[in-house]
């Protein structure tokens, strides 16, 4: 009798323990998988990954660990190059990478910040809108104190740091800066005997060029241009002149831009929206497979193309031009966005995190990134020269000129409700592009739903 009772108690104990250890196991597996993902993404730090596993926040020997969040780390050198350089400089610091796919990044980051854990320490912010959400929720550490303590010169960012301020406080420094340019396939233009797109084109001239460059039928058809499914590929040009933003009480200024976007599609000068959407076609494959002669896209695509040429994935001549401009502006007006870098409000290593942020947005880091074809928040002639002198950068003076801009509008304004408004913009964009809404219906719905969100 005694024994049976003992057995029962023992079983309870064992089961309780097994539940606990099961949890413990799975969490350590998580760490392992993070470790391996860090390993695969970085060739240089693969040997250090082993050390990471047995040091959670502070390992013996005074090695400090700093955790950073990244997205799609293996597909672009933009984060790893800086992480490696920082570790090189600070031998006593190990960087733990928490990588998420780009689509899930904001969700997963938001959830982990809701838990108010000391990790992550440093946050690369994917959209300025999500930075505002986090700042609004007091999940980001204001960095004004650090800036004044270190006498950091913000003028090197040429105003970008001030643009990232929210409610009079700085929460982040500009890390990357990207703006829209026009990519084109030189081989296709040569074959058609048409002059390359110039750095001073209106959108009207661009439409004509797209019509001229469209040729062929069926699977061998070459489209004059290519618009990816993002709403930005229509609305950006509507806000390019700086007169309006995508958060307005009246959206009628978008009407002509949607009409022209639809005309391009319905005339067959760009691929059909529904085809791109249902087949889930990535814009890079369209350009890389030479299925389009031109493509408006962000400067981030330069690094992708350079990498692709380097690896022999593509082998054709390509070039870049300034993005076409509306009739009412001169050439050099562009649209873009900043990628900020910030510190979690819950970090337990404020000073170390700040040191990393400071380094990542320094001129030294800008130089490293420029070699990879990445534009940083520090616009300088030397950075442009470094990018332009890279081996795989397209040859010719006009390509370097194409990188200059005289006026820069954000693709979306700094509005704390912007992520919610983007959902509406995307839904309406889709309905217009598949002809479920007329342009007028779409604009009416935009006006109504945005007014509801904003409480107008």
């Amino acid at each position: 009798m005694k024994r049976r009772k003992f057995v029962a108690t023992l079983m309870v104990g064992i089961m309780a323990c097994s539940v606990l250890t099961a949890c413990g196991n799975s969490s350590s597996q998580n760490q392992d998988s993070q470790k391996t993902s860090g390993q695969t993404s970085s060739q240089t730090s693969s040997g250090e990954a082993d050390k990471q596993s047995d040091s959670n926040t502070e390992a013996p020997g005074g090695v400090q660990e700093l955790s950073v969040t990244t997205w799609d780390n293996e597909s672009s050198p933009q984060f790893q190059a800086i992480i490696d350089a920082y570790e090189e400089k600070n031998q006593d610091v190990k960087i733990k990478i928490i990588d998420t796919s780009a689509d899930e990044y904001n969700n997963s980051l938001g959830i982990s910040l809701s838990a108010a854990q000391p990790d992550p320490d440093v946050i690369w912010v994917k959209d300025m809108g999500s930075m505002l959400q986090m700042a609004d929720k007091e999940q980001l550490l204001p960095i004004d104190e650090f800036i004044s303590r270190d006498n950091l010169d913000l003028s090197i960012y040429k105003g970008a740091a001030e643009q990232l301020m929210y409610n009079g406080k700085s929460y982040a420094l500009p890390y990357r800066n990207d703006w829209y340019i026009l990519y084109y396939n030189k081989d296709l233009f040569d074959a058609a005997g048409v002059e390359y797109p110039s750095n001073d084109m209106t959108w009207g001239e661009y439409y004509e060029l797209a019509a001229k460059m469209t040729s062929g039928e069926g699977s061998s058809k070459v489209y004059g241009s290519h618009n990816h499914t993002w709403q930005a590929l229509v609305t950006n040009w509507a806000v390019q002149d700086g007169e309006n933003t995508v958060v307005e009480k009246d959206y009628s200024f978008m009407k002509s831009w949607y009409e022209e976007g639809l005309a391009l599609q319905d005339n067959g000068y760009i691929q059909d929206y529904s085809t791109l959407k249902t087949a889930n076609i990535h814009y890079s494959s369209v350009f890389k497979n030479q299925q389009c002669a031109m493509m408006p896209m962000g400067t981030w695509f330069i690094a992708t193309m350079m990498q692709s040429q380097e690896e022999g994935e593509t082998d054709f001549n390509w070039g870049i031009a300034t993005i076409p401009h509306p009739e009412n502006t001169e050439a050099g007006y562009t649209v873009g966005a900043l990628t900020p870098i910030a510190i979690s409000a819950y970090t337990d290593q404020k000073d170390l995190a700040w040191d990393f942020v400071k380094f990542a947005s320094s001129e030294e880091a800008a130089e490293i990134l420029a070699k990879q074809g990445v534009f940083t928040g520090i616009p300088s002639d030397t950075a442009f020269q470094t990018i332009a002198s890279a081996e795989r950068f397209p040859e010719g003076e006009s390509n370097i000129e194409a990188l200059n801009y005289t006026h820069y509008s954000f693709d979306r304004p700094l509005d704390p409700k912007i992520e919610e408004i983007r959902t509406v913009l995307n839904e309406v964009h889709e309905m217009i592009m598949i002809h479920s809404y007329s342009v007028d219906e779409g604009i009416q719905e935009l006006t109504e739903r945005v007014a509801e969100i904003k409480g107008w």
């Binding site: 007091e138 529904s274 959902t423 739903r449």
Partner: protein
Amino acid sequence: MSNGKTSFLTSEQKRKIRNNITGYAFILPNLIGYTIFVFIPVIFSFVLSVMSWDGSKRPMQFVGLANFVEIFGDKVFRGTLSHTITYALMTVLPTLVLALLLAVLLNNKLKGVAIFRTAFYFPYIASIVAVGAVWNMLFQPDYGPVNEILKWIGIDNPPRWVVDKNWAMVAVSIVSIWKYMGYYMIVYLAALQGISNSLYEAASIDGANGWQKLWHITVPMLTPTTFFVMIMLTIQCFKVFDLVYIMTGGGPGNATKTLVNYIYEKAFTSWEFGPASAGAIVLFAIVLVITLIQFSGEKKWFKDL
């Protein structure tokens, strides 16, 4: 425990307690998991539904029923309710009928019946992400196989499926029917084993043909199962999320946005946990009503049997 003689408990009571402890020990692992991952979050979402909270460290604020007022005033939320109901109406009956027919067909002693059963069951265990992606390709409006076949049989303007606001939900529904009919077929097959052969023999003697036997013996005898399948399917339809998320992302526009998609968006795009939880409570109420219907129905059917 060793001083049993001084205990106030009789040996009968002690044995009961001992048995209970053993029993609790067996359910404990599941109970701990259930409490942490289901029960507490459910209670928490009830609390959240009357609060205003953005997921930050800032304290929640009590707002009463304002969240419910907000979501029912939201055109998008009312839209998701009607989309979800439409989806349920389009999905439940075809799945049920097809599952029944398949079960009846595969209940015969055909050669290779096991292969067919496996084949129809297979979609149920296939990954929903893969299934959604492949069906999206099949439904491709311009050169997808589905529309090629439709054109071939003489339909000049086949629907544009997931990029047509009127057909997108139909496409999702078709995939759902295809995916889940195999599972309910198995449920029906099990129930068919329970029908006594003597009924069919008696009917044969009276000269009933196959259809008459199906309609007058099989279907009535399966009523409790049909009832169960219908309730399960309806609940499942109201909870749909993954298939929509993979196939259409709630689009085009918000034509296929369902209740759970709305909850997800409110919670993790807008970070408004209050309205999101209120939406979840609405879903809970709907599922609760359906379940209560099932409970009362179950009593009725099993009394009859």
